[in-house]
């Protein structure tokens, strides 16, 4: 990513904003987490989150650095379809609504998505799933830490590592202090900031530039962006939809919320969260279409949103973007830190290292793992550009698409098909990821998730049809209290 020639925000003002919001989030974390006594309190907010907070956390967590920075990038690269296609990610949240209800019914005492896969499919499939899940979670954590550092550097000229370290440290501290309760509480406030900020920027862009000028200059300079028969954008539509579905269906970020929301809240919360999220990428992405009319140079595609905002609104725009993206980053980073630490605590620490760990030992482990995850993320993000990983934010994001989309069918079949085959579930993830990655390199980034999901579906259906393995649903409810590998579900262990 290329930094701007001259920082738009004065450094002292940027430090003031950074300090003010850091203090706000940490103080809220400490206050919200003051009644966390057990691992269940810390990890699942007492399993009784109400509809307003539940909808806000679903929507705010799904608004990430990717939404606020990649939605404009997709509008710039794939035009109108890119912008609308990105908003189809809302279907991930909406379609998770019935799953959330079923998860809560099947596993009233569950903790993680890993718990479900282990009990439903056995150890081999569980380990494949953990691999997919941790690759995605870690990639997402690093990309968000990187995005925070780059954005602060680009807007205010503050050193990349300093900005990245501050954002990451703030998120680690308040996640540590408040657990999921703090994450959900701060998400509510961050949601209000994100919606108001994105709407303000879009409205000001239309007001200052005008639809007519935007349309005319696009037709002159980048006509394909307005074409409804733009081939790559047509390929991208379902790819993005399935990527979003894969991200949400498999990730413990969303499963932990399904366990945390009160009874009968999950369905309505995810439905409402999805509907609230739907217009955000359109509003955030639209501003990128004003680029030709504004005559600004975009040195790196993922910087287009902040650049347009700064051009249209000057210092005010830069402040709004800074606050919105800081809120978006924080709301996703904290959720991912909390959910990934839960997954590592339950599925690696308790599942593989100390099966008999007490509640208090798990609570301690969760906190230590949050710090370790923060340190690992900081270490990886510190070497941005020096490690041979995928180049840009969007490229890294869609690289993980092959992995997560291949997990859609093992999850759906595991929840709804009594005869789903455990081995087929593992191979659906392995072959889906492999062929999805091959298509990423051979065809383009806009088909990786689509291919992964299609291959996964074929393998899951064929495996289950040829070798059905009946399963007793009641086992999930009975075994999820204290099951451990090897004794939780011996029949399906492979």
């Amino acid at each position: 990513m290329t930094a701007l020639e001259d920082p738009i925000l004065p450094t002292s003002l940027a430090w003031g904003l950074l300090a003010a919001f850091s203090v706000l989030w940490v103080a809220l974390g400490a206050w919200l987490g003051r009644r966390n006594y057990t691992a269940a309190d810390h990890m699942l907010a007492g399993r009784n989150v109400g509809l307003a907070l539940a909808s806000a956390t679903a929507m705010a967590t799904w608004v990430t650095a990717n939404t606020t920075m990649t939605a404009p990038q997709l509008a710039l690269e794939l035009g109108v379809w890119g912008m609308l296609g990105y908003s189809l990610g809302a279907l991930g949240l909406i379609l998770f609504a019935p799953l959330a209800r079923r998860i809560r019914e099947l596993m009233p005492h569950g903790f993680t998505s890993g718990d479900f896969i282990r009990l439903r499919y056995g150890t081999f499939t569980w380990r494949v799933f953990l691999g997919v899940s941790l690759i995605y979670a870690f990639g997402w954590l690093i990309s968000m830490a990187m995005a925070g550092g780059v954005l602060i550097n680009a807007l205010a000229g503050i050193d990349y590592r300093v900005g990245m370290t501050v954002i990451l440290t703030v998120c680690v501290i308040y996640t540590l202090l408040g657990g999921l309760r703090a994450v959900i509480g701060t998400d509510f406030i961050q949601t209000v900031i994100i919606i108001a900020g994105a709407a303000f920027l879009a409205w000001m862009t239309i007001d200052r530039v005008g639809f007519e000028a935007i349309h005319f200059d696009l037709m002159e300079e980048r006509p394909e962006l307005l074409s409804l028969l733009f081939p790559a954008a047509i390929m991208f539509l379902f790819n993005n939809l399935l990527f979003g579905v894969g991200e949400i269906f498999h990730s413990n970020v969303w499963w932990s919320r399904a366990f945390a929301f009160g009874r009968n809240v999950g369905f309505r919360a995810y439905l409402l969260g999805g509907l609230l999220w739907l217009p955000i990428p359109i509003v955030a992405g639209f501003v990128a279409l004003a680029t030709p009319a504004l005559g600004i140079n975009v040195p790196a595609a993922d910087m287009v949103g902040p650049l347009v905002a700064a051009e249209v609104l000057g210092l005010t725009g830069a402040i709004v973007v800074f606050i919105v993206v800081f809120a978006a980053l924080a709301s996703s980073l904290d959720s991912l830190l909390a959910a990934t630490s839960d997954l590592v605590t339950r599925d690696i620490y308790r599942g593989h290292i100390r099966p008999q760990a007490s509640e208090q030992a798990q609570l301690r482990a969760t906190k230590i793992i949050v710090v370790l995850l923060g340190l690992l993320t900081w270490l990886a993000a510190s070497y941005r550009g020096e490690v041979p990983v995928v180049g840009s934010l969007a490229a890294l994001l869609y690289f993980t698409g092959a992995f997560v989309a291949s997990a859609i069918w093992p999850i759906v079949a595991g929840l709804y098909w009594r005869r789903a085959n455990p081995q087929a579930a593992a191979w659906a993830m392995l072959l889906g990821s492999g062929l999805g990655l091959a298509s990423y390199f051979m065809i383009g980034w806009y088909v990786a998730a689509l291919v992964g999901a299609a291959v996964s579906l074929v393998v899951m259906v064929a495996g289950t049809w040829l070798f059905p393995r009946p399963f007793d649903w009641d086992r999930l409810a009975h075994d999820d209290r204290d099951a451990s590998p090897g004794r939780g579900n011996p029949e399906v262990a492979t």
Partner: protein, 142 residues
């Protein structure tokens, strides 16, 4: 130079002379690893330059219809939304003569065929449809 030659020997001095001779050429703006082909009408042009540059785009080989698309001190530009065709780009330092173009490249834009695009669209639509059916049934199978 003679003192240097006496101190360090002939080969390093030759190398130094080559570097000095090459220096003016390196100071001219140059495209850095330019793309040759695009299947989605977009790419990013990077260049190396000591100062501000002028970047022009044309569709013909003789640059008859060339137009300035960027002038300034950045070192890259995102191009997107181009239809099928051959696009020429040329680069010069902003303070150089108007005809002193230091580098030219051609990028061929050839979009994926619509048959392939709708093929992927159909596969994605089918996977999505199966997903909707499974979720709408909303009860365990078997």
């Amino acid at each position: 130079m003679l003192r240097l030659a006496a101190s360090f020997g002939r080969l390093p001095v030759l190398a130094l002379a080559l570097v000095l001779l090459a220096a003016p050429a390196l100071a001219e703006p140059r495209f850095d690893d330019p793309p040759e082909h695009s299947a989605d009408g977009g790419f990013t042009l990077h260049w190396e330059a000591p100062g501000a540059v002028v970047l022009e785009r044309a569709s013909g080989p003789d640059f008859d219809d060339a137009g300035v698309i960027y002038e300034g001190g950045d070192t890259s530009r995102v191009i997107s939304g181009l239809p099928d065709g051959e696009y020429r780009f040329r680069l010069r330092a902003a303070d150089a003569d108007e005809d002193a173009w230091s580098d030219r490249i051609t990028v061929v834009v050839e979009h994926h065929g619509l048959a392939r695009a709708f093929g992927f669209f159909a596969v994605g639509g089918a996977v999505f449809l199966v997903l909707i059916v499974v979720l709408l049934r909303g009860r365990p199978r078997g």
